[in-house]
């Protein structure tokens, strides 16, 4: 098991390096444009060249990458081209806002989706139709529209929840909860739509398997079979779905934040990209990659524990 984890970790590190390298290479084509943007209307070929050499952007791209990597491994992600604030702390602070939205949404999604899926698969009939209906509804309305609709309903018309603004949990948990309530609801609805259908499908497949029939003939209770056996076997693919869901939620969050004017990761990345603030862009990407790898690692570990055969690979 330990070797399995270490192998996965190693793979993750290599992938992270490759992703940052590719991103760097891609962005490297636009250094000149960024220089021009910084200077604004007063840009001349000389001043542009001047800025580029001042920032070291005229060196070969691979050298620049190595330099950046060298600093990054020490935790130094440089400073913003525009604000001169250090990148790393800003990235983390913004990420915290977004994650404080995503993590509750993910947990809620998992609980609701699994319950719904198991309920539908083990009851059939009306329960199944309700679950399928809920799934479908969640699919039909894009997150963006749902966010706007809910803001209009709850914040503008009913005035129950704030339309914009964010309060950190450390400041006031109550206000924090209210400030992220609608975004979390939106994310959860989309997540449940996807996951519940998956869980339901897997559970139905599992419950039709031979070993379930044999367990029934031993007198083992239905509850034990559904929750202890079928769910455990269906759990592995469901976990994979959950990790994909996390990454999708992250993407959705970036956009939804805008609707609620939350000072999160999305707007930070967007502004930086608009202005061509390379150090910030890189910092933002690294964090994103880091997140993906951690989530995948956790999923792989959980899968390895749940499914003994998977550990062989």
């Amino acid at each position: 098991m330990l070797i399995y984890i270490l192998r996965r970790l190693g793979t993750g590190v290599v992938l992270a390096l490759l992703v940052t390298l590719i991103t760097f290479l891609l962005l490297g084509t636009s250094f000149e444009d960024v220089a021009r943007t910084i200077l604004g209307p007063s840009a001349t070929p000389q001043t542009v060249a001047g800025i580029m050499s001042a920032k070291g952007w005229d060196r070969p791209v691979l050298v620049q990458y190595a330099d950046w990597l060298w600093h990054a491994l020490r935790g130094d992600f440089g400073v913003s081209v525009y604000t001169s604030l250090p990148v790393a702390p800003s990235v983390l602070q913004r990420a915290a806002v977004t994650l404080s939205m995503i993590i509750p949404a993910l947990l809620l999604t998992a609980v609701i989706a699994v319950s719904l899926g198991v309920w539908a698969a083990s009851r059939g009939g009306v329960a199944d139709r309700i679950a399928q209906g809920i799934s479908l509804l969640g699919y039909l309305i894009p997150g963006l529209l749902l966010a706007i609709a809910l803001v209009v309903l709850f914040a503008v018309q009913l005035k129950w929840l704030p339309a914009t603004g964010f309060t950190p949990i450390t400041e006031d948990p109550g206000k924090w909860a209210r400030s992220i309530a609608i975004p979390v609801i939106v994310l959860t609805i989309g997540g449940v739509a996807n996951m519940a259908a998956q869980v339901r499908g897997r559970m139905i497949d599992e419950l039709r398997r031979d070993y379930v029939r044999t367990l029934r003939t031993r007198g083992i209770s239905s509850r034990s079979i559904v929750l202890g056996h079928a769910l455990r076997n269906a759990g592995s693919p469901a976990l994979t779905v959950m990790s994909l869901e996390f990454i999708q939620m992250f993407g959705a969050a970036l956009i939804i934040e805008n609707v609620f004017a939350l000072p999160g990761y999305g707007s930070y990345a967007f502004n930086a990209s608009l202005q061509g603030d390379i150090p910030v862009i890189l910092g933002v990407t690294v964090f994103g990659v880091f997140l993906v790898i951690i989530v995948n690692l956790i999923t792989d570990i959980a899968n390895g524990w749940l499914n003994p055969k998977a550990r062989v690979r």
Binding site: T11, L15, A16, L18, V19, V34, A120, S122, G124, G125, D128, L136, L140, I141, P142, G143, L144, L145, I148, V152, G190, Q198, R200, I204, D205, R208, D210, Y211, T214, L215, R216, T217, R218, G219, I220, S221, S222, S224, V226, H229, R232, N233, P237, V241, Q248, G251, L254, I255, G266, A269, F270, L274, G276, I281, V284, G288, V289, L291, V292, L306
Partner: protein
């Protein structure tokens, strides 16, 4: 943001079960009645061509027509729009709905909303086209290559797509703005690449499944090259899921592009639903309806695409198995007449049992018709028949574990005088394991792969006997030794995939006799085993039967097994019992012509080839 179903490969076709069960011995089982029914039902639904089914499906047709209409309107925008998409008239800023020349009003810059909507359709269409086609081209090609060719190639493609999946999704689309300059075409191209791993997984799994099919091997032996095999045999299987995925991909692309445009990524000159929603949202307090029009349009388009994808899935992949209430017990057509028939002291008394499956036309197809048999304490009855005779169905009905589709349409099953038909799982539970036990046919698929062997047995023992964990553990270890397993502790700690087929069958036998049942129902317990192992298992069963004085209902198609272990025989054909008798009677003097035919089909032990090999020169006729 919707995404195609990445982790499943589509419906599990009924035929897959036969193939997957052959894992432990490489031997293919004869099809069961249940399987034959499922295959029949599935194939009946496929009898009409795909196109016809598509045309008949209201959900599919409505969404296709709707989307086509919207698309055509968008394409005709230069003709039917009233203004250019960026034509701004200061005098028309925030004009209300119904203003002449501005049927849906004008936005904050004085641009006609109606015209912008039409042009936005174009943007959406292009986004969908680029995003979906890039994802499909990259994913399908890589999936075909990675799935079909050897391990090395697959390793490479796996790595490549792991890499793509490590990019943090939508964030990349924002982050690469300095490179793409926000142009939505470039952004959609990148998005297509980011979506391709999902398609790759689906295609690769499908190809891997087909690659190992025997008909692909046969094609290779017939001399077909790889390319022709891919085109002729493999591509066909991939077709359906790809079409379904395409619908969902289009929806995703449009939704994401709208989201990015909402944020402000990209040129303000490009009309899109996202940009319109953004400006409408900003004006929410001034003119609330402004954001309504683009939202509705976007909503209708994405909803239609999702519904189309679902409809395509139903049409192309057939109906999925429906869930049924767990623990409800078997379906019974009519409530039982209370105690119809004389009360009998026999252990198992089946009277006039009839079981049916729903047929594709809505009627019922009887697979067991009026079967009667009985068993007394300590007797071994062999229930013999060919595939589809209904022998296993009879056994399942006694245990109460018929599949959900099956329905008992008549008759009664009495165990020690108690009627079993109509009981729920909870009511059957005290009997199962303790009084009536079951040994299945295929050992590997009847053990839960996630649990160690020992813990599964312990769970069963505790459920029936209610003893402590430690006591149960000792009992199980003793049992494993009793059934002839050399190292009980080791097997106890193993997972099912770590033990052989023969050992797994011994484990299942141990699980069945753990609570000293009165009746043992063995469903072809040795069919999936090697003949030497079979002989040992038959010895074991004979010993256990004598020791525990169990009645045994042995379902089999093998007359040798019957001759070895049974006292009495009942012969089944097409759901009916055609002859019963003692073993001596049936073998020596069969009465029914079907029995005679079966016995006559047994290969004679003394016949060998007496003709010499034909040395036809070249062997060609």
């Amino acid at each position: 943001m919707t995404a195609p179903d990445e982790t499943s490969t589509g419906s599990t076709r009924p035929g897959d079960r036969v193939a997957s069960d052959a894992v432990s011995t490489g031997r293919v089982a004869r099809p069961s009645t249940e399987l034959l029914q499922a295959v029949q039902a599935a194939e009946a639904s496929e009898r009409t061509t795909v196109l016809r089914r598509l045309l008949r499906d209201p959900q599919a047709m409505t969404t296709i027509v709707l989307l086509l209409v919207i698309l055509i309107l968008g394409l005709l925008a230069p003709i039917i729009a009233l203004h250019g998409p960026n034509e701004a008239q200061l005098s028309m800023v925030n004009a209300p709905v119904g203003t002449p020349g501005y049927p849906l009003g004008a936005d904050e810059s004085g641009r006609d909303i109606y015209s912008r909507l039409l042009y936005s359709v174009q943007t959406a269409a292009v986004s969908a086209l680029i995003g979906a086609s890039v994802a499909l081209v990259v994913g399908v090609t890589a999936g075909l290559i990675g799935g079909y060719f050897g391990r090395v190639t697959q390793g490479v493609t796996e790595w490549l797509f792991s890499l793509v999946m490590t990019f943090p999704g939508v964030l990349m689309l924002i982050v690469l703005m300095p490179v793409t300059k926000g142009a939505y075409q470039a952004t959609m191209l990148i998005f297509g690449v980011l979506l391709s791993p999902g398609i790759y997984r689906i295609v690769r799994n499908l190809v891997l499944g087909v690659k190992n099919e025997l008909y692909v091997d046969a094609a290779r032996v017939s001399g077909l090259g790889d390319l022709r095999i891919l085109g002729r045999h493999v591509l066909f299987v991939v077709r359906g899921p790809i079409i379904i995925a395409a619908a969902f991909l289009c929806g995703s692309a449009i939704a994401v592009q709208s989201g990015l445009a909402f944020l402000g990524v990209g040129s303000l000159q490009v009309p899109s639903f996202g940009a319109m929603i953004s400006s409408g949202f900003r004006n929410l307090y001034i003119v609330p309806t402004q954001f309504l029009w683009p939202s509705l349009s976007l909503g209708i388009i994405t909803a239609s695409l999702v519904l189309l994808g679902n409809a395509l899935r139903d049409v192309l992949e057939g109906s999925q198995p429906k869930p049924a209430k767990v623990g409800a017990g078997q379906r019974v057509l009519a409530p039982e007449a209370a105690d119809g028939g004389a009360y009998d002291s026999r252990l198992l008394d089946i009277q006039d049992l009839s079981i049916a499956y729903p047929d594709p036309n809505g009627g019922l197809n009887e697979v067991v018709r009026g079967v009667s048999l009985d068993l007394d304490k300590g007797q071994i009855l062999g229930l013999v028949g060919e595939s589809g005779s209904g022998k296993s169905q009879t056994a399942f009905a006694t245990l109460g574990v018929l599949p959900n589709e099956a329905m008992i349409v008549g008759g009664s099953i009495r165990f020690a005088g108690r009627e079993l038909i109509g009981l729920t799982d909870a009511q059957m539970a005290p009997l199962r394991g303790k009084e009536i036990a079951y040994i299945p046919q295929e050992p590997m698929s009847n053990l839960d792969p996630s649990y160690r062997v020992g813990s599964q047995l312990v769970q069963g023992v505790r459920a029936t006997l209610g003893i402590s964990q430690r006591e149960a553990r000792e009992r199980v270890l003793a049992l494993l030794a009793r059934v002839g397993i050399a190292d009980p502790q080791r097997t106890f700690d193993s997972y099912p995939h770590q033990i052989s087929g023969g050992m797994a069958q011994r484990v299942l036998i141990a699980g069945a006799v753990a609570s000293r049942p009165r009746l043992l129902i063995a469903d072809e317990p040795t069919t999936a085993l090697d003949v030497t192992v079979q002989a040992e298992i038959l010895d074991l069963l004979r010993d256990l039967q004598a020791e525990l004085d169990m009645a045994v209902l042995l379902v089999t198609h093998n007359f040798g097994v019957v001759a070895d272990i049974c006292d009495r025989i009942a012969v089944m054909q097409s759901g009916r019992i055609v002859e019963t008798g003692t073993v001596e009677e049936i073998f020596r003097d069969p009465q029914h012509e079907y029995t005679m035919m079966l016995l006559g089909s047994i290969l004679d032990e003394n016949v060998v080839r007496t003709d010499a090999p034909v040395d036809a020169a070249g062997g060609k006729s």
